[in-house]
Symmetry: C2
Subunit: 389 residues, 2 copies
């Protein structure tokens, strides 16, 4: 086939060499956004330190790994990576609907809960719109609210739990359009029972939508999640394959909500955003309830061990319905930060809440026996170093 070469002489239009181009301006909103990012990854810390972490127990990942079925499905799909993924996430969506006993019209699959948060915020938030959350709750949600020009209003945690009564009162007072509530909570690990959450849903003010983040729900006691009423216009629920399913690196989350809202994702989302291997892996993982049950048991044992390790150093832990435990370091945020920094220097990757008084704690994810051995060895020294610092 002949491939003609054309000539185009726009060269004649070229501007003088001394011309200084005037850059395209960002939108005022984009220009105003802070440069800060919600989380620094452990890899970045490793690069800074020049050493690998001994224990990676800071990001609430599932060290117990994905289902072997999911790994096999992802490996099989890797050979077909030349094909675009199904932009409708059809098979996974149907499987999720069947899993929850709801209609596919009430489910949207996205690039992790983080990706879905970006979309839900974009649908409802523009400059001037208020969004209610708890001071110290999930920062990536706030990142998106700020990113779309929303105004964040907050209530404090109460007894280390998100405070639903104060939250809905705030939302009503501030005419918040979105309300963020995580159950179980991150970063504290605390939770409310299903009746309390159902009451919160009932109390959502007119004109507001509750974003109920249930990322950790698989680890919670029975009776923590209220029954799913998918068509309830007051709530949209978020679930993920990043926690109990052990697929954080795959980026698959989903939301369950009113069909009208779910359909609107299609008007804005990155349709081909969910990786082909991720779709296959999530589908396989959904079929492996046995693996999830095993992970949940491992996590429960790890939580107990973290509590024992803390107790051996005279520290209290918060009850947790998640795959991590908040350890109360017994003093202020500066002290907890010193403990955390020392743990990191000893090769233990952990994180901590960002807001007082939550930041008296460090947050330790369920680890393998080896991970927790390393943590156990490091904690007393870190506490000594922080105390003498």
């Amino acid at each position: 086939m002949t491939q003609a070469i054309w000539v185009w002489d726009l060269m004649a239009n070229q501007l003088p060499a001394d011309r200084v181009a005037k850059s395209a301006p960002f939108t005022p909103l984009a220009a105003s956004l802070p440069a800060s990012v919600p989380f620094v990854g452990p890899e970045a810390l490793e690069r800074q330190r020049g050493v690998r972490f001994t224990a990676r127990i800071g990001a609430n990942e599932s060290v117990f790994g994905p289902s072997p079925r999911a790994v096999a499905a992802m490996r099989a799909a890797a050979g077909e990576a030349w094909k675009y993924c199904d932009p409708e996430n059809h098979e996974l969506k149907l499987a999720l609907a069947a899993h929850h006993g709801i209609r596919p019209e009430n489910v949207v699959v996205g690039e992790g809960i983080d990706g879905l948060f970006g979309y839900i915020v974009r649908m409802f938030v523009e400059p001037g719109v208020s969004v209610a959350t708890s001071a110290g709750a999930y920062p990536t949600y706030n990142f998106h609210v700020t990113g779309f020009g929303g105004r964040l209003v907050t209530v404090p945690y109460r007894d280390d739990r998100e405070d639903p009564t104060a939250l809905v009162e705030l939302a009503a007072r501030e005419q918040a359009r979105l309300i963020y509530f995580a159950n179980p909570d991150n970063p504290m690990g605390t939770w409310w029972n299903a009746g309390a959450v159902a009451s919160l849903i009932e109390a959502v003010p007119d004109g507001a939508l509750l974003c109920l983040d249930e990322a950790y729900i698989d680890f919670a006691p029975a009776g923590t999640a209220p029954a799913i009423n998918a068509d309830d216009p007051r709530v949209i629920r978020f679930r993920t394959f990043s926690k109990a399913h052990g697929m954080a690196g795959a980026r698959v989350g989903y939301a369950i909500g009113e069909a009208k809202v779910i359909k609107r994702f299609d008007a804005i989302r990155n349709h081909f955003g969910v990786n082909r291997m991720a779709q296959a892996g999530a589908l396989a993982s959904l079929g492996d309830a046995e693996h999830i049950a095993w992970v949940v048991a491992q996590v429960a044992a790890a939580r107990d061990r973290i509590a024992s390790i803390a107790a051996a150093s005279g520290l209290k832990t918060l009850p947790s319905a998640t795959n991590f435990v908040a350890i109360d370091c017994g003093r202020d945020g500066t002290f907890a930060r010193a403990v955390l920094d020392d743990l990191i220097a000893r090769g233990i990757f952990v994180r901590m809440p960002g807001v007082a008084p939550l930041n008296r704690c460090i947050r330790v994810s369920a680890g393998t026996t080896a991970d927790l051995d390393a943590f156990e060895a490091a904690l007393p020294a870190a506490l000594r170093a922080a105390s003498s610092g």
Copy 2:
């Protein structure tokens, strides 16, 4: 560890049973967006037809597959899918910078070019802002412009190529803030040489940014891509692992541009958006130039064969610098649509341009020998059916 159960009696606040909740309102922009999506995937067509396609040669995927090294890297990474991906895409970004001889500060990695288009549009476009493109060019770019309230202004293709002179004139006249230009072009496969593109960059009006989509550049003759001047504030260039690298399902694209613009992605992007397996696969693929060269050769042979198949039916093809060929069906869009529909009914997945006069063509991706055998067998019958229809 004791897991206390709290009781919360917001039940007292419950609203009367006859209350009808008032849903949260979408933003006016979100509410106004059309429900249409840029592309319907072949899987959706298969579900409609109830039959699998014999030949999947409609989405410009690389049927020649990813590098074996990339497949191996993705398979190895699948076992570590429990770890979040590096939100900085650090290793891949460094490798890309080294590959292009530029600084990492000039590179951003994202969830395919589609994902990056969403971000770049969000940075620069708000209601009232104009964006210039060609009528019939990449619809997903337009999807994002519309999605952020931008006003699309277009010029027609000229001789089946995007018309850079008309495009910059339009952009200047309409004070467009972004300009979209693909080289080589999709859906026509045509291209301009490096000098012409360099001239286009020179002619970008003050206050505008050229989005130069080079998704297909690996298939183009030497001398098609102008030298990369990463700090040029007038242009941001987009590349992908979806085409020559055969990793469309992995979702990895990247952009090269001025550090100031690249840094702004961090203020809005989904930081953990690029799947862990995808990052590992892309890194491995970047190191396998031999595979890319082999794919490019296979594609060139497939293009020639598509041209021969078309010629045997008396049809002309357009010269192509991509992994697909536009076949001119010789009549109008209605006729080409009939040919396409008949091909699809015969199990051949192909696509076509959406705008006249481009839509006198169907667009056939480079296929395997078996794919093109099937296409060869189906085309004469499809043409007959369309002629008699």
